[in-house]
């Protein structure tokens, strides 16, 4: 009871009243992202997914830019300068629409833009960040390679000095936005250690063939980056980053967004299952009236809202400057696997319709299979937590 003796009503879509923890502005941010998705993405995304394409990605990037989503948590250079919780709220809404959309935004803002913002020269920032914030330029981020995923320290892509230039050779794999990007942040070994390079994608020797034949994130551009004697000037190197802490700091940013995003996908699956169960009738009554269905709905609600609380907790720590990488691993590990559980359970509530693109559930479910392993597999996050708990690293000597 509050002072006036009235209690808020139970909201099936927000059973713990977490929205009440958000500020008026955060609710407005949520509403704006939700409206953009409702008008520009949700009606079409099932069809894009089926066709395996993201048509009009440039227009979509500009719409996101107008709203202020791209690099929204960065200060200056045309970025909106919002808080970590603000950014999280936006990620939750984007991924409630589609994980591919959230991936587009994460890679642009948390990987490519963050790398330039955190580790780039003033010239890099002036040249790229305002255009990227506006969605006029699209960025990608090349760390993973065909043979080097969880262990990026073993990467083979390398950059050699040639006079005052750098010459890059190698391949990067599973690069979101690669084929449509204007600029790639590419990480390569050098004699000094791992360094990052800001490479305009029209540089001779750079190509980015799109990866087809995937059954996940189909409404998202995924590419290979091929670097064949790519020559860039000395100034292309990110001056502030030497060693793996450069790329790992960016991944930490993106993983934080996933902690929120995954709960968005799960929330949307739960909403679809709840709505379906109330209208679908079998044996003369809505299936929501069966105990087995109610058990599933309750379990999903617990999973989704525990995830939202965890995301909010980590967001508040990030805003306070106390968030640790191990805590991001905690969130990424549990919220993504939790979201997959919810998606699979929701799929059973929908019966045969659970596998139809008429409903969002199977799309979220297959998308989350990518989210499960990208930006650090569940296993790697478990090992990171294990190392922090025991003091013993289990994955390297």
């Amino acid at each position: 009871m509050n002072a006036s003796g009235t209690r808020p009503e139970f909201d099936p879509y927000d059973p713990l009243g977490i929205d009440g923890e958000l500020s008026t502005e955060q609710l407005a941010i949520r509403d704006s992202v939700r409206a953009l998705c409702r008008d520009h993405v949700t009606p079409y995304v099932g069809d894009w997914f089926e066709r395996g394409e993201l048509p009009g990605i440039r227009d979509l990037a500009r719409e996101l830019g107008k709203l202020g989503v791209l690099g929204m948590h960065l200060q200056g250079y045309g970025c909106a300068g919002m808080s970590a919780v603000d950014y999280g709220v936006a990620c939750e809404e984007l991924e409630a629409c589609d994980s591919g959309l959230r991936s587009l935004v994460s890679v642009q803002g948390s990987l490519a833009m963050f790398a330039i913002w955190r580790w780039g020269s003033e010239e890099h920032k002036q040249q790229w960040l305002p255009k990227m914030a506006a969605g006029e330029a699209i960025g990608c981020f090349g760390l993973t390679e065909p043979d080097h995923g969880s262990d990026p320290a073993s990467m083979r892509t390398w950059a050699r000095r040639d006079g005052s230039d750098w010459v890059l050779n190698g391949r990067k794999m599973w690069i979101t936005n690669g084929s449509v990007a204007d600029v790639a942040v590419v990480w390569a070994r050098t004699d000094e250690g791992v360094r990052g390079f800001v490479v305009p994608t029209d540089t001779p020797g750079f190509s980015a063939p799109e990866i087809t034949q995937k059954l996940s994130l189909r409404a998202s551009v995924t590419s290979e980056l091929v670097l064949d004697e790519v020559r860039v000037p000395d100034e292309a190197a990110l001056p502030e980053a030497v060693g793996l802490r450069g790329p790992l700091s960016c991944l930490n940013e993106a993983r934080y967004g996933i902690v929120w995003g995954a709960t968005g996908a799960a929330r949307n699956c739960l909403e679809a299952a709840l709505d379906y169960s109330r209208s679908r009738e079998q044996f003369g009554k809505p299936i929501a009236g069966f105990q087995l269905t109610q058990s599933k709905l309750a379990d999903m609600a617990v999973r989704v809202n525990n995830g939202r609380l965890l995301a909010l907790h980590l967001g508040r720590r990030k805003d306070a400057g106390t968030l640790l990488p191990q805590q991001v691993s905690f969130g990424k590990l549990d919220n993504v696997r939790g979201a997959l559980e919810v998606a699979r359970t929701a799929r059973t509530v929908l019966g045969a319709n659970g596998i139809s693109l008429e409903y969002p559930v199977i799309r979220h479910m297959t998308n989350l299979e990518s989210v499960l392993t990208y930006e650090g597999t569940g296993e790697m996050h478990a090992l990171t937590i294990g190392q922090a708990m025991t003091g013993i690293p289990a994955f390297r000597d």
Partner: protein, 260 residues
């Protein structure tokens, strides 16, 4: 140029809307409240005019304290300031009293060139307030605009009605009401949302706008709601199976409903 946009907070059309049993006024607690969609278009049109001509956009709203959420949204879209007439005495005001209050609120502002309103709200749907406000201000009214042009001196609209499309012009100051077709409103950007926190909203009582409490509200409303009932549930339609007589049956049905 100085533009005023009239906005209203209404129950979300997606939520269940109810009238209170006691006095047949809107049960505001029973539904989610939002800035009326048609008002978003009115705000958008005002912002477009401001972007072309310069000037300021002021939001004018009559409604309970909670209506500040709707005002906040209009400010987040880019309006510069707001006047919120909020007073217990206004509860149950009808269209005439609402128009008087809004006209009086506009009267507290200096040198207004153009007032833009939605053609009708999605809750009351009287569709009368814009015309009444214009009448009370003694200004020309250009209603049902699907297109608006202004050069800062005069305003020209395409007025769309059942009778067709007419081009209507007037010198400023004037009032324009807009339809759904006028534009696609922008989303409040994150910068706009943060900027809205600092924009001035002056909250005025009935007395502040120069009216007395007994001129407004349910007690003195010129119109009264005597009774109300929920709309009956939709009945199953008539299915005509064409066995050679289908066309005749449809015509008979339509003439039976006095539709042809």
């Amino acid at each position: 140029m100085n533009i005023v946009v009239l906005v209203k907070q209404v129950p979300d059309t997606w939520s269940e809307r109810k009238l209170s049993d006691a006095d047949h006024t809107l049960d505001r607690a029973s539904a989610d409240a939002v800035l009326d969609e048609i008002n978003e278009r009115a705000v958008e049109e005002a912002l477009l005019a401001k972007e072309a001509q310069g000037g300021e956009v002021t939001v004018v709203c009559m409604g309970p304290e909670r209506a500040n959420e709707a005002i906040r949204k209009a400010l987040s879209m880019g309006a510069d300031s707001a006047v919120h007439v909020s007073d217990e005495a206004l509860h149950g005001s009808d269209a005439v009293q609402t128009a008087r209050t809004l006209a009086a609120a506009i009267g507290t502002l200096e040198s207004v060139d153009l007032v833009i309103a939605g053609n009708e709200s999605t809750d009351g749907r009287a569709g009368a307030v814009p015309a009444m406000v214009a009448e009370l201000l003694g200004w020309p009214q250009l209603t049902y605009a699907r297109k608006l042009d202004t050069d800062g001196q005069s305003v020209s609209i395409e007025r769309e009605s059942d009778a067709g499309v007419a081009t209507v012009e007037a010198n400023l100051p004037a009032l324009v009401s807009v339809t759904e077709k006028i534009n696609e409103p922008r989303y409040p950007s994150f910068k706009g949302i943060m900027a809205a926190k600092k924009k001035p909203v002056s909250t005025l009582s009935v007395a502040d706008v120069g009216l007395s409490a007994d001129e407004v509200g349910l007690g003195s409303a010129p119109t009264q709601v005597v009774s109300s009932a929920p709309a009956p549930p939709k009945e199953a339609g008539v299915k005509v199976t064409d066995e050679g007589e289908g066309g005749v049956q449809i015509v008979e049905f339509l003439s039976g409903q006095k539709l042809v």
